[in-house]
Amino acid sequence: MENIISIEHIARIYQVGLEEVHALADVSLKINRNDYVAIMGPSGSGKSTLMNIIGCLDTPSRGIYMFENENVSQMNDNQLAEIRNRKIGFVFQTFNLLPRSTALHNVELPLIYAGLPKSVRLERAYEALEKVGLADRVDHKPNELSGGQRQRVAIARALVTQPSIILADEPTGNLDSKTGNDIMALFEELHETGNTIILVTHEEEIAQHAQRIIRLRDGLIESNEIVKERTLVGNNE
């Protein structure tokens, strides 16, 4: 199995006044290509902090983070931006789409930053929107779409650069369970077509879709176990 992410003894410490907050105290983990991992844990346990570091939005206070055999801990802002652009696809709980831009433009945006010509960009953005089932909504703005549809646009945006890994921080947190399930089916499909996915969630049922569950508590890994009986949405249908 090809290793994508290797994290060794990283910590993330926030200075709040005189007090040090150890959002992550000492975390080590490895993610391989085509893994499907869920991260769980109580509120404040450091899930988002870990995701931000994995996604190169933030850097650890100490420890070593290797992404595809490159040392991220030593990269500058520009290099981090490039990694985020080319290798990482984010899906957020609150969708985080540009509110005044169409679905198509939202999906096209990472490709603009990647420096691709317009024709290629549009073709790939259409393709990504098609993949998430929104081929007929390309010209809609976020406020003209349902929550589930918005999250699909966000997923299309994450997919469009063909990243090494997709990071989803509570992607179903703002959706009802039916819509959440649809989104989970989409992730399952992405996983089956070879994508690597890390997903943060509060809900046990959602986590059961993953191959592996990492549980955090107080900035430490409490457990890291294979899921024995995965829920497969595709199989149920």
Binding site: D77, N85, N96, R100, Y113, G115
Partner: protein
């Protein structure tokens, strides 16, 4: 094209497109933001247009009076070195002085005596109160570049005979004869009937006030002496040099000849002054530069206020769009990309403002054109565009820099 350059051009192009989208998404605010720049650019272009007009008007006026002219006068017109009481005590310059000067001076191509008076002029119900009247001889026209729209100047005979004939400036003719047909009619000049023999072409330079030929009447000097003024009145001798290179020589000669005419001994000071258009020009230049300094001060101030306004609104915009910046960074926008986006947003907004200001300036220019011979200058347009771009870049920099420095995690969490 090498790869670096083409990728830079790509970034600039895409950056501009992103900025245009963002501006279109925030139309109302963008429009409001431009107000200061609109005013600033309007002010700078309008001012340069007006100054150009003043300049052209002065040039026209001066050249219509003859730009290579000297005026021998009892008085020094500009910045006299001699105290005024001394000037006052000088002997008047008489018609005899003029005739002797005319006889002795070899260099001038034309000379004429002149003096001024004011009279109310009437034709039927149309009245011009205290019109400025130049009283002179038929030679006067040769010392100027004046042209006629109708009729002629008075003849040598009319001049010597002190006949009741008058030549009207264009503005006077318009007031007295709104429907034209001045030549041949008699007007009442201070109670005397005078026949209009000519109307001058419009000069269009209000700047010179009374001295503007448009606002004057011209009568034979002998008529003035017979009817309105004493023969002892001091006159001005108008002298025209053949060309501008000869002006100095004509002046030297005039000093020599006038000393002889006035019978001055070698140790007596000149009891006359030789005045030149240059005096007027330097006076004009002083006025223009005062207007210029004032104008640039106002322009600078409004652009400064405009720039502060833009900076302020860009700061607010960055604050409001913190989340957007976070999103852009999360999906791969680099610092310089964000910096470029906000700077080009500010620049485009300023450029729009500048163009709107330019449109207003063109309209104002058309209005000014009714009084001053002028039009918008091409270099003023280029300057306006450069100034608005520069204002955008300068005022956009600080907010853009702040945006580019935002931490993506904090920015994404911003409510």
């Amino acid at each position: 094209m090498n790869k670096k350059v083409s990728s830079l051009l790509f970034e600039i192009k895409e950056g501009l497109i992103i900025s245009l989208r963002a501006i279109a998404a925030n139309k109302g605010r963008s429009a409001l933001t431009t107000l200061g720049i609109v005013i600033g650019i309007w002010a700078v272009v309008t001012m340069s247009t007006a100054l150009k007009g003043i300049d052209i008007a002065f040039q026209n006026g001066v050249s219509s009076l003859g730009s290579d002219n000297l005026y021998i006068d009892k008085w020094a017109w500009f910045n006299p070195d001699t105290p005024w009481w001394e000037l006052r005590n000088r002997r008047n310059i008489s018609m005899d002085d003029y005739y002797r000067y005319k006889e002795l001076a070899k260099l001038p191509i034309a000379t004429a005596p002149s003096t001024f008076t004011r009279k109310t002029v009437k034709f039927r119900d149309n009245i011009v109160e205290s019109m400025f009247i130049t009283a002179t001889t038929s030679d006067y026209i040769k010392t100027t570049n004046l042209d006629f729209s109708d009729g002629r100047f008075f003849t040598d005979m009319e001049s010597k005979g002190g006949r009741n004939v008058i030549v009207l400036g264009s503005a006077i003719a318009e007031q007295l004869f709104p429907f034209g047909g001045a030549v041949g009619n008699y007007v009442d000049v201070g109670g005397r009937k005078m026949k209009v023999v000519g109307v001058l072409q419009k000069q269009g330079s209000w700047v010179m006030g009374d001295f503007n030929p448009d606002n004057q009447g011209y009568i034979p000097i002998e008529f003035l002496f017979k009817n309105f003024a004493s023969r002892r009145k001091s006159i001005t001798i108008n002298v025209r040099a053949p060309n501008s290179q000869m002006v100095e020589a004509v002046k030297e000669e005039a000093i020599g000849v006038m000393r002889r005419v006035r019978g001055l001994t070698y140790n007596e000071k000149n009891d006359f002054s030789i005045n030149q258009q240059e005096g007027i020009l330097s006076q004009i230049n002083k006025t223009v530069s005062v207007i210029q300094i004032g104008g640039f001060f106002i322009t600078g101030l409004s652009l400064f206020v405009g720039a502060i306004g833009i900076m302020n609104i860009m700061f607010v915009s960055v604050k409001e769009r913190t989340r957007e910046i976070g999103i852009r960074k999360a999906i791969g926008a680099k610092k310089r990309t964000i910096l470029g986006q906000f700077i080009s947003e500010a620049s485009i907004i300023c450029l729009f403002g500048g163009l709107i200001g330019l449109v207003f300036a063109v309209i104002t220019g058309m209005i000014i054109n009714q009084w001053l011979p002028t039009s918008i200058q091409f270099d003023a347009v280029v300057l306006a565009i450069l100034i608005s771009l520069a204002t955008g870049i300068i005022s956009g920099f600080a907010p853009a820099y702040q945006a580019s420095k935002l931490d993506p995690v904090d920015a994404l969490r911003y409510e």
